[in-house]
Protein backbone atom coordinates (compact mmCIF):
# COMPACT_ATOMS: atom_id res chain seq x y z
CA UNK A 1 0.00 0.00 0.00
CA UNK A 2 1.51 3.28 -1.17
CA UNK A 3 1.52 6.04 1.40
CA UNK A 4 -0.70 9.06 0.44
CA UNK A 5 1.97 11.69 1.12
CA UNK A 6 -0.01 14.51 -0.52
CA UNK A 7 -3.02 13.91 1.70
CA UNK A 8 -0.79 13.81 4.76
CA UNK A 9 0.93 17.11 3.84
CA UNK A 10 -2.46 18.65 3.14
CA UNK A 11 -3.74 17.56 6.56
CA UNK A 12 -0.62 19.01 8.16
CA UNK A 13 -1.64 22.33 6.56
CA UNK A 14 -5.00 22.06 8.34
CA UNK A 15 -7.07 20.64 5.48
CA UNK A 16 -10.06 18.92 7.02
CA UNK A 17 -11.02 17.14 3.79
CA UNK A 18 -7.62 15.49 3.55
CA UNK A 19 -7.96 14.46 7.19
CA UNK A 20 -11.35 12.96 6.42
CA UNK A 21 -9.86 10.90 3.54
CA UNK A 22 -7.05 9.66 5.75
CA UNK A 23 -9.63 8.70 8.35
CA UNK A 24 -11.46 6.61 5.74
CA UNK A 25 -8.22 4.90 4.74
CA UNK A 26 -6.88 4.02 8.18
CA UNK A 27 -9.76 4.16 10.66
CA UNK A 28 -10.83 0.54 10.41
CA UNK A 29 -7.32 -0.82 10.89
CA UNK A 30 -6.73 1.44 13.89
CA UNK A 31 -10.10 0.51 15.34
CA UNK A 32 -9.11 -3.15 15.03
CA UNK A 33 -5.88 -2.50 16.90
CA UNK A 34 -7.64 -0.45 19.58
CA UNK A 35 -10.40 -3.00 20.02
CA UNK A 36 -7.90 -5.86 20.33
CA UNK A 37 -6.40 -4.00 23.30
CA UNK A 38 -9.45 -2.62 25.15
CA UNK A 39 -11.87 -5.42 24.10
CA UNK A 40 -14.92 -3.20 24.55
CA UNK A 41 -16.64 -1.44 21.69
CA UNK A 42 -17.79 1.64 23.64
CA UNK A 43 -14.34 2.11 25.16
CA UNK A 44 -12.73 1.50 21.77
CA UNK A 45 -14.90 4.25 20.25
CA UNK A 46 -13.80 6.68 22.96
CA UNK A 47 -10.17 5.81 22.39
CA UNK A 48 -10.69 6.09 18.64
CA UNK A 49 -11.86 9.69 18.99
CA UNK A 50 -8.91 10.56 21.20
CA UNK A 51 -6.52 8.94 18.73
CA UNK A 52 -7.75 10.91 15.71
CA UNK A 53 -7.86 14.17 17.64
CA UNK A 54 -4.25 13.50 18.65
CA UNK A 55 -3.35 12.76 15.02
CA UNK A 56 -4.93 16.06 13.93
CA UNK A 57 -3.42 18.12 16.75
CA UNK A 58 0.07 16.63 16.41
CA UNK A 59 0.09 16.09 12.64
CA UNK A 60 3.07 18.41 12.22
CA UNK A 61 5.26 16.21 14.39
CA UNK A 62 5.14 13.52 11.71
CA UNK A 63 7.71 13.82 8.93
CA UNK A 64 6.83 12.09 5.63
CA UNK A 65 10.53 11.55 4.98
CA UNK A 66 10.98 9.67 8.23
CA UNK A 67 9.09 6.50 8.98
CA UNK A 68 5.74 5.24 7.76
CA UNK A 69 2.61 7.30 8.48
CA UNK A 70 0.81 4.07 9.37
CA UNK A 71 3.52 3.18 11.87
CA UNK A 72 3.19 6.64 13.42
CA UNK A 73 -0.60 6.44 13.84
CA UNK A 74 -0.34 2.78 14.88
CA UNK A 75 1.87 3.86 17.76
CA UNK A 76 -0.57 6.60 18.79
CA UNK A 77 -3.48 4.13 18.69
CA UNK A 78 -1.70 1.44 20.72
CA UNK A 79 -0.37 3.88 23.32
CA UNK A 80 -3.71 5.61 23.77
CA UNK A 81 -5.50 2.26 24.08
CA UNK A 82 -2.94 0.87 26.53
CA UNK A 83 -3.21 4.07 28.62
CA UNK A 84 -6.95 3.50 28.72
CA UNK A 85 -6.57 -0.06 30.02
CA UNK A 86 -4.45 1.33 32.85
CA UNK A 87 -7.19 3.71 34.02
CA UNK A 88 -8.99 2.78 37.22
CA UNK A 89 -12.46 2.90 35.65
CA UNK A 90 -11.40 0.46 32.98
CA UNK A 91 -9.67 -1.89 35.42
CA UNK A 92 -12.77 -1.99 37.61
CA UNK A 93 -15.07 -2.87 34.74
CA UNK A 94 -12.85 -5.50 33.11
CA UNK A 95 -11.72 -8.81 34.48
CA UNK A 96 -8.68 -10.60 33.16
CA UNK A 97 -9.09 -10.62 29.40
CA UNK A 98 -5.44 -10.23 28.51
CA UNK A 99 -5.21 -13.67 26.94
CA UNK A 100 -7.58 -12.70 24.14
CA UNK A 101 -5.76 -12.09 20.82
CA UNK A 102 -6.70 -11.04 17.32
CA UNK A 103 -7.40 -14.59 16.18
CA UNK A 104 -9.90 -15.06 19.01
CA UNK A 105 -11.59 -11.81 18.03
CA UNK A 106 -11.83 -12.75 14.37
CA UNK A 107 -13.00 -16.23 15.34
CA UNK A 108 -15.87 -14.85 17.38
CA UNK A 109 -16.67 -12.08 14.90
CA UNK A 110 -20.00 -12.45 13.19
CA UNK A 111 -19.99 -9.21 11.23
CA UNK A 112 -20.03 -9.74 7.48
CA UNK A 113 -20.72 -6.20 6.29
CA UNK A 114 -17.13 -5.09 6.09
CA UNK A 115 -14.65 -4.35 3.39
CA UNK A 116 -12.39 -7.03 4.79
CA UNK A 117 -13.72 -10.48 4.56
CA UNK A 118 -13.07 -11.55 8.12
CA UNK A 119 -14.76 -14.87 7.58
CA UNK A 120 -12.44 -15.61 4.67
CA UNK A 121 -9.41 -14.69 6.73
CA UNK A 122 -10.63 -16.71 9.67
CA UNK A 123 -10.31 -19.93 7.71
CA UNK A 124 -6.70 -19.30 6.89
CA UNK A 125 -5.70 -17.91 10.23
CA UNK A 126 -6.37 -21.32 11.68
CA UNK A 127 -3.38 -22.42 9.67
CA UNK A 128 -1.11 -19.95 11.47
CA UNK A 129 1.13 -21.51 14.05
CA UNK A 130 0.31 -20.55 17.64
CA UNK A 131 3.82 -19.09 17.95
CA UNK A 132 3.14 -16.88 14.95
CA UNK A 133 -0.12 -15.69 16.43
CA UNK A 134 1.72 -14.77 19.62
CA UNK A 135 4.48 -12.93 17.78
CA UNK A 136 2.07 -10.99 15.59
CA UNK A 137 -0.13 -10.21 18.59
CA UNK A 138 2.81 -8.90 20.61
CA UNK A 139 4.54 -6.95 17.89
CA UNK A 140 1.64 -5.62 15.83
CA UNK A 141 -1.32 -5.42 18.17
CA UNK A 142 0.29 -4.87 21.57
CA UNK A 143 3.25 -2.84 20.38
CA UNK A 144 5.93 -4.72 22.32
CA UNK A 145 9.51 -3.82 21.58
CA UNK A 146 11.38 -6.73 19.96
CA UNK A 147 13.37 -7.17 23.18
CA UNK A 148 10.24 -7.38 25.33
CA UNK A 149 8.61 -9.74 22.86
CA UNK A 150 11.70 -11.99 22.82
CA UNK A 151 11.81 -11.98 26.60
CA UNK A 152 8.10 -12.71 26.86
CA UNK A 153 8.42 -15.67 24.49
CA UNK A 154 11.74 -16.73 25.99
CA UNK A 155 13.57 -16.85 22.65
CA UNK A 156 16.71 -15.06 21.41
CA UNK A 157 16.24 -11.77 19.57
CA UNK A 158 17.56 -13.19 16.28
CA UNK A 159 15.13 -16.08 16.47
CA UNK A 160 12.27 -13.70 17.16
CA UNK A 161 13.12 -11.63 14.10
CA UNK A 162 13.36 -14.55 11.68
CA UNK A 163 10.34 -16.26 13.13
CA UNK A 164 8.38 -13.01 12.89
CA UNK A 165 9.40 -12.64 9.27
CA UNK A 166 8.26 -16.16 8.49
CA UNK A 167 4.97 -15.53 10.26
CA UNK A 168 4.42 -12.27 8.41
CA UNK A 169 5.07 -13.99 5.09
CA UNK A 170 2.49 -16.59 5.99
CA UNK A 171 0.11 -13.85 7.04
CA UNK A 172 0.74 -11.95 3.83
CA UNK A 173 -0.28 -14.90 1.72
CA UNK A 174 -3.36 -15.34 3.89
CA UNK A 175 -4.61 -11.75 4.01
CA UNK A 176 -3.45 -10.48 0.64
CA UNK A 177 -4.04 -13.73 -1.23
Amino acid sequence: MKQPDELILSMQDGNEKAFSKLYTMYSEALFGIIYSIVLDEAVAEEVMQDVFIKIWDNSKSYNVKKGRFFTWILNIARNTAIDKTRSKAYKNSKKNLSTTNFVDIIATSDNLNRKTNAIGIKKYLDALKPACIKIIDFLIFKGYTQKDAAKEMDIPLGTLKTRNRKCMQDLKTIVLG
Binding site: E28, F31, G32, E45, R68, T71, F102
Partner: protein, 265 residues
Protein backbone atom coordinates in the same frame (compact mmCIF):
# COMPACT_ATOMS: atom_id res chain seq x y z
CA UNK B 1 23.49 -5.40 4.93
CA UNK B 2 22.57 -5.84 1.28
CA UNK B 3 19.02 -5.74 -0.04
CA UNK B 4 18.39 -9.46 0.21
CA UNK B 5 19.91 -9.68 3.69
CA UNK B 6 17.79 -6.80 4.88
CA UNK B 7 14.61 -8.36 3.51
CA UNK B 8 15.43 -11.69 5.14
CA UNK B 9 16.51 -10.15 8.45
CA UNK B 10 12.89 -9.57 9.51
CA UNK B 11 13.69 -5.94 10.26
CA UNK B 12 11.24 -4.63 7.64
CA UNK B 13 8.34 -6.27 9.49
CA UNK B 14 9.54 -4.85 12.78
CA UNK B 15 9.99 -1.47 11.09
CA UNK B 16 6.33 -1.41 10.07
CA UNK B 17 5.28 -2.57 13.53
CA UNK B 18 7.34 0.24 15.04
CA UNK B 19 9.45 -2.16 17.10
CA UNK B 20 12.88 -1.25 15.75
CA UNK B 21 15.45 0.87 17.53
CA UNK B 22 16.11 4.35 16.14
CA UNK B 23 19.40 3.21 14.60
CA UNK B 24 17.86 0.18 12.90
CA UNK B 25 14.96 2.34 11.69
CA UNK B 26 17.40 4.80 10.14
CA UNK B 27 19.11 1.92 8.34
CA UNK B 28 15.78 0.78 6.88
CA UNK B 29 14.87 4.37 5.88
CA UNK B 30 18.16 4.77 4.02
CA UNK B 31 17.58 1.45 2.23
CA UNK B 32 14.04 2.55 1.27
CA UNK B 33 15.47 5.75 -0.26
CA UNK B 34 18.03 3.79 -2.26
CA UNK B 35 16.17 0.64 -3.24
CA UNK B 36 12.65 0.70 -4.66
CA UNK B 37 12.27 -3.06 -3.99
CA UNK B 38 12.74 -2.46 -0.25
CA UNK B 39 10.07 0.24 -0.35
CA UNK B 40 7.80 -2.19 -2.16
CA UNK B 41 8.46 -4.86 0.47
CA UNK B 42 7.63 -2.40 3.28
CA UNK B 43 4.43 -1.35 1.54
CA UNK B 44 3.37 -5.00 1.18
CA UNK B 45 4.05 -5.77 4.80
CA UNK B 46 2.09 -2.66 5.81
CA UNK B 47 -0.83 -3.67 3.58
CA UNK B 48 -0.85 -7.10 5.25
CA UNK B 49 -0.89 -5.62 8.75
CA UNK B 50 -3.65 -3.17 7.80
CA UNK B 51 -5.82 -5.92 6.31
CA UNK B 52 -5.34 -8.10 9.35
CA UNK B 53 -6.14 -5.23 11.72
CA UNK B 54 -9.24 -4.35 9.70
CA UNK B 55 -10.38 -7.96 10.01
CA UNK B 56 -10.23 -7.56 13.78
CA UNK B 57 -12.19 -4.29 13.77
CA UNK B 58 -15.81 -4.29 14.93
CA UNK B 59 -18.16 -2.21 12.76
CA UNK B 60 -17.29 1.49 12.89
CA UNK B 61 -20.06 3.89 13.82
CA UNK B 62 -20.32 7.00 11.63
CA UNK B 63 -20.88 8.94 14.86
CA UNK B 64 -17.22 8.59 15.73
CA UNK B 65 -16.11 10.69 12.78
CA UNK B 66 -18.74 13.37 13.38
CA UNK B 67 -17.63 13.63 16.99
CA UNK B 68 -14.00 13.96 15.94
CA UNK B 69 -14.96 16.72 13.50
CA UNK B 70 -17.00 18.51 16.16
CA UNK B 71 -14.04 18.36 18.46
CA UNK B 72 -11.39 19.65 16.06
CA UNK B 73 -13.74 22.41 14.82
CA UNK B 74 -14.41 23.55 18.37
CA UNK B 75 -10.68 23.81 18.96
CA UNK B 76 -10.21 25.48 15.60
CA UNK B 77 -12.97 28.01 16.10
CA UNK B 78 -11.62 28.81 19.55
CA UNK B 79 -8.15 29.47 18.21
CA UNK B 80 -9.67 31.35 15.26
CA UNK B 81 -11.56 33.69 17.54
CA UNK B 82 -8.39 34.73 19.30
CA UNK B 83 -6.82 36.96 16.64
CA UNK B 84 -10.20 38.39 15.67
CA UNK B 85 -10.78 41.97 16.69
CA UNK B 86 -12.07 42.37 20.21
CA UNK B 87 -14.41 45.29 19.67
CA UNK B 88 -15.38 45.41 23.31
CA UNK B 89 -11.80 45.95 24.39
CA UNK B 90 -11.12 48.42 21.59
CA UNK B 91 -14.22 50.44 22.45
CA UNK B 92 -13.25 50.35 26.11
CA UNK B 93 -9.75 51.60 25.43
CA UNK B 94 -11.00 54.24 23.04
CA UNK B 95 -13.48 55.46 25.66
CA UNK B 96 -10.76 55.52 28.30
CA UNK B 97 -8.43 57.50 26.02
CA UNK B 98 -11.22 59.93 25.15
CA UNK B 99 -12.09 60.34 28.81
CA UNK B 100 -8.46 61.06 29.67
CA UNK B 101 -8.13 63.52 26.82
CA UNK B 102 -11.36 65.17 28.02
CA UNK B 103 -10.12 65.38 31.59
CA UNK B 104 -6.83 66.95 30.49
CA UNK B 105 -8.66 69.40 28.26
CA UNK B 106 -10.97 70.40 31.12
CA UNK B 107 -8.01 70.77 33.50
CA UNK B 108 -6.31 73.05 31.00
CA UNK B 109 -9.53 75.07 30.57
CA UNK B 110 -9.85 75.34 34.34
CA UNK B 111 -6.26 76.59 34.67
CA UNK B 112 -6.83 79.10 31.88
CA UNK B 113 -9.96 80.32 33.62
CA UNK B 114 -8.14 80.58 36.93
CA UNK B 115 -5.40 82.60 35.25
CA UNK B 116 -8.02 84.88 33.74
CA UNK B 117 -9.82 85.25 37.07
CA UNK B 118 -6.53 86.11 38.74
CA UNK B 119 -5.71 88.64 36.02
CA UNK B 120 -9.14 90.21 36.38
CA UNK B 121 -8.75 90.34 40.15
CA UNK B 122 -5.41 92.09 39.77
CA UNK B 123 -6.94 94.53 37.32
CA UNK B 124 -9.78 95.13 39.75
CA UNK B 125 -7.31 95.90 42.50
CA UNK B 126 -5.47 98.30 40.21
CA UNK B 127 -8.77 99.96 39.29
CA UNK B 128 -9.81 100.13 42.92
CA UNK B 129 -6.53 101.83 43.75
CA UNK B 130 -7.10 104.25 40.94
CA UNK B 131 -10.61 104.97 42.21
CA UNK B 132 -9.26 105.46 45.73
CA UNK B 133 -6.59 107.79 44.37
CA UNK B 134 -9.17 109.69 42.37
CA UNK B 135 -11.37 109.94 45.46
CA UNK B 136 -8.45 111.19 47.53
CA UNK B 137 -7.56 113.68 44.84
CA UNK B 138 -11.15 114.78 44.63
CA UNK B 139 -11.22 115.23 48.39
CA UNK B 140 -8.01 117.23 48.18
CA UNK B 141 -9.40 119.37 45.40
CA UNK B 142 -12.58 119.94 47.37
CA UNK B 143 -10.48 120.86 50.38
CA UNK B 144 -8.62 123.40 48.29
CA UNK B 145 -11.87 124.71 46.90
CA UNK B 146 -13.23 125.03 50.43
CA UNK B 147 -10.11 126.96 51.42
CA UNK B 148 -10.36 129.36 48.52
CA UNK B 149 -14.07 129.90 49.00
CA UNK B 150 -13.90 130.18 52.74
CA UNK B 151 -14.24 133.58 54.36
CA UNK B 152 -11.77 132.49 57.04
CA UNK B 153 -9.02 132.53 54.45
CA UNK B 154 -7.66 135.67 52.94
CA UNK B 155 -5.76 135.44 49.75
CA UNK B 156 -2.59 137.37 49.00
CA UNK B 157 -0.33 137.43 46.02
CA UNK B 158 3.39 137.52 46.73
CA UNK B 159 5.00 139.28 43.77
CA UNK B 160 8.37 138.22 42.37
CA UNK B 161 11.56 139.86 43.53
CA UNK B 162 12.65 142.14 40.69
CA UNK B 163 16.31 141.35 41.33
CA UNK B 164 16.00 137.54 41.35
CA UNK B 165 12.81 136.41 39.57
CA UNK B 166 10.67 139.23 38.21
CA UNK B 167 8.16 136.80 36.61
CA UNK B 168 7.75 134.67 39.71
CA UNK B 169 4.86 134.93 42.09
CA UNK B 170 3.17 132.93 44.77
CA UNK B 171 -0.26 132.99 46.28
CA UNK B 172 -0.99 132.63 49.97
CA UNK B 173 -4.35 131.68 51.50
CA UNK B 174 -3.96 132.56 55.13
CA UNK B 175 -6.30 131.74 58.02
CA UNK B 176 -5.15 134.02 60.72
CA UNK B 177 -7.42 132.62 63.36
CA UNK B 178 -6.50 128.95 62.92
CA UNK B 179 -2.92 129.86 61.89
CA UNK B 180 -2.98 127.77 58.74
CA UNK B 181 -1.62 128.93 55.40
CA UNK B 182 -1.79 127.38 51.97
CA UNK B 183 1.03 128.40 49.62
CA UNK B 184 0.32 128.05 45.93
CA UNK B 185 3.75 127.78 44.38
CA UNK B 186 2.61 127.30 40.81
CA UNK B 187 3.97 130.72 39.91
CA UNK B 188 7.47 129.77 41.10
CA UNK B 189 9.99 128.12 38.80
CA UNK B 190 10.71 124.43 39.51
CA UNK B 191 13.28 124.17 42.28
CA UNK B 192 16.61 122.89 40.84
CA UNK B 193 18.15 119.69 42.04
CA UNK B 194 19.53 119.88 45.56
CA UNK B 195 17.57 123.03 46.33
CA UNK B 196 14.26 123.61 48.04
CA UNK B 197 11.95 126.62 48.60
CA UNK B 198 11.65 127.75 52.18
CA UNK B 199 8.74 129.83 53.47
CA UNK B 200 9.35 132.59 55.98
CA UNK B 201 6.98 134.49 58.20
CA UNK B 202 8.15 138.04 58.64
CA UNK B 203 7.54 140.79 61.21
CA UNK B 204 8.65 144.23 60.14
CA UNK B 205 9.76 146.26 63.18
CA UNK B 206 12.35 144.97 63.44
CA UNK B 207 12.57 142.68 60.36
CA UNK B 208 12.51 139.19 61.78
CA UNK B 209 12.18 136.12 59.59
CA UNK B 210 10.87 132.89 61.07
CA UNK B 211 10.95 129.69 59.07
CA UNK B 212 7.52 128.07 58.80
CA UNK B 213 8.60 125.18 56.59
CA UNK B 214 9.93 123.86 53.33
CA UNK B 215 7.82 123.46 50.22
CA UNK B 216 8.52 119.74 49.95
CA UNK B 217 6.42 116.69 49.30
CA UNK B 218 5.47 116.28 52.97
CA UNK B 219 3.44 119.50 52.84
CA UNK B 220 2.18 119.30 49.29
CA UNK B 221 -1.58 118.68 49.23
CA UNK B 222 -2.02 118.90 45.49
CA UNK B 223 -0.28 120.12 42.40
CA UNK B 224 2.26 122.41 44.12
CA UNK B 225 -0.19 123.63 46.75
CA UNK B 226 1.39 123.41 50.16
CA UNK B 227 -0.20 123.43 53.59
CA UNK B 228 1.86 125.31 56.17
CA UNK B 229 1.24 125.25 59.90
CA UNK B 230 1.63 128.75 61.32
CA UNK B 231 0.85 127.88 64.98
CA UNK B 232 4.50 128.37 66.03
CA UNK B 233 4.48 131.96 64.85
CA UNK B 234 3.11 134.72 67.09
CA UNK B 235 2.25 137.16 64.33
CA UNK B 236 2.81 137.47 60.61
CA UNK B 237 3.06 140.69 58.65
CA UNK B 238 4.57 139.32 55.47
CA UNK B 239 5.52 136.08 53.69
CA UNK B 240 8.80 135.50 51.92
CA UNK B 241 9.98 132.51 49.91
CA UNK B 242 13.68 131.84 49.34
CA UNK B 243 15.54 129.09 47.51
CA UNK B 244 17.74 127.25 49.99
CA UNK B 245 20.02 124.19 49.97
CA UNK B 246 18.25 120.90 50.63
CA UNK B 247 17.09 120.66 54.24
CA UNK B 248 16.56 124.42 54.54
CA UNK B 249 18.54 127.13 56.35
CA UNK B 250 18.47 128.89 59.73
CA UNK B 251 18.21 132.28 58.16
CA UNK B 252 16.98 133.22 54.72
CA UNK B 253 19.48 133.64 51.90
CA UNK B 254 18.42 137.10 50.79
CA UNK B 255 19.94 137.01 47.33
CA UNK B 256 17.75 133.97 46.64
CA UNK B 257 14.52 135.67 47.75
CA UNK B 258 12.01 134.82 45.04
CA UNK B 259 8.84 136.43 46.34
CA UNK B 260 7.89 138.65 49.17
CA UNK B 261 4.52 140.15 50.06
CA UNK B 262 2.65 141.67 52.96
CA UNK B 263 -0.53 140.38 54.47
CA UNK B 264 -3.27 142.38 56.15
CA UNK B 265 -2.76 142.79 59.85
Amino acid sequence: MNVQELIESGNLELYVAGSLSIEESREVEEAIEKHPEIKQQVEMIEAGVITLAEAVSPPLSALIWSQIVDNIRKVKSLSDSKPSTNWGAITGWAAAILAFAGIFWMLKEKNDLQDRVQYTTTQNTVLEEKVTNAETQLADANEVLDVIRSKEYNSYTLPGNQAVAPQAFAKVYFNKKDKIAYIDAKGLPEAPRGKVYQVWSLTMQPLTPTSVGLLDASRETKDRLFRVDMSQVASTEAFGITLEPEGGSETPTMDQLYTLGQVAP
